[in-house]
């Protein structure tokens, strides 16, 4: 039988913990992939996730006499979710949109963004204290942090927001 039946009872909590970390990090990735409309990776992670899950849950439910098994299960579940989020951040799949509102250094910021090789669109806007520049730039998620740091170096007072966007059409994309 596939499962943890052969494992010594004292190792059981650790084994359950590890399996759960694996299955929950896959599950978290899966949900984030679904949100971004990535079908194939979502299928693969879903398949692996449920296979691991069955092993973990049957091991716990047939060994409820040991409190540590339950602790291992719950801690693995919680930790796996966070591990999945960290992995997702590292992979940074998909695209984002960064919007910068700058009161007086808009053109300098736009120049810097272009010099860094990204496309940016400038709009004139009116804020509470007069005219402002609104800059929007769409880029790969993994480039967002770098660009944000650069923007804040030039105008530390600018207002910066980040959104995720679904894949889009045309425009200027840094290769």
């Amino acid at each position: 039988m596939l499962g943890l039946a052969g494992i010594r009872p004292e190792w059981m909590p650790l084994a359950i913990f590890l399996i759960r970390v694996g299955d929950m990090s896959l599950d978290t990735l899966r949900v984030l992939l679904v949100m971004r409309g990535r079908r194939l990776p979502a299928w693969v992670t879903g398949f692996a996730q449920s296979a691991l899950w069955v092993i973990a849950v049957t091991s716990v439910l047939s060994n409820l006499d040991n409190l540590w098994n339950i602790v291992g299960y719950a801690a693995g579940f919680a930790t796996g979710g966070v591990v999945g989020m960290v992995i997702d951040d590292r992979l940074a799949i998909g695209h984002g949109n960064i919007r910068i509102i700058s009161s007086d250094r808009g053109s300098a910021v736009a120049e810097a963004i272009r010099a860094a090789g990204y496309g940016v669109t400038e709009l004139a806007g009116r804020g509470k204290d007069g005219m402002v520049t609104i800059l929007t730039s769409s880029l790969r998620r993994r480039d967002i942090d770098r660009l944000r740091r650069e923007v804040l170096q030039i105008d530390p007072d600018s207002f910066v927001t980040v959104e995720e966007v679904r894949p889009l059409h045309r425009g200027f994309w840094r290769a």
Binding site: D65, I70, A78, F159, V160, T161, E163
Partner: protein, 182 residues
Amino acid sequence: MLAISRSVGIEWSGLSPALVFLLLFLLRAGDLTLATLRMLAVMRGRRLSAWLLGLLQAGFFLLGAAGLLSNLQNPFNLLAYAAGFATGNVLGLSLENRLAPGHSLLRVISQDRGEAVLHSLWKAGWGATEMAGRGQGGTVGYILCYIPRRALGRVERSIQQADPQAFITVQYVRALHGGWKA
């Protein structure tokens, strides 16, 4: 009665069928409420909340699942489990709407009362930026306003007061830096 037995979990055999039913429902509803909250925390990138909610949720799940499996002789228990699942989902969503963490972007398009909308937002203490746009019926005011999600209802009402015809969309934003705050 509701003793946590040595074989960790709830001692189900001593409970009346009605109590088993209720307990299964509550455990499952708690599980799914937490699961929904956790999922939304994951989407917002809130790691600590996701971890804590996950820990609690797994506990509920194990108690509930173990209970269901040892009480399968009564088919109503399956119903309790399923109803708990469905209820928890809804509960989680409405709870999250109450707590409303994070920020939203309001995009307001106003035919000819953009100025009034802008000033009502400023007066209420929100930062708002206006751009000129062109729509089918001429120039329109195009206003961006970032607010805490919690304030959404209030802000929406004050915009509608300034311009009942305003077109408003709400969007979730993930990260914020700087900006004008009251």
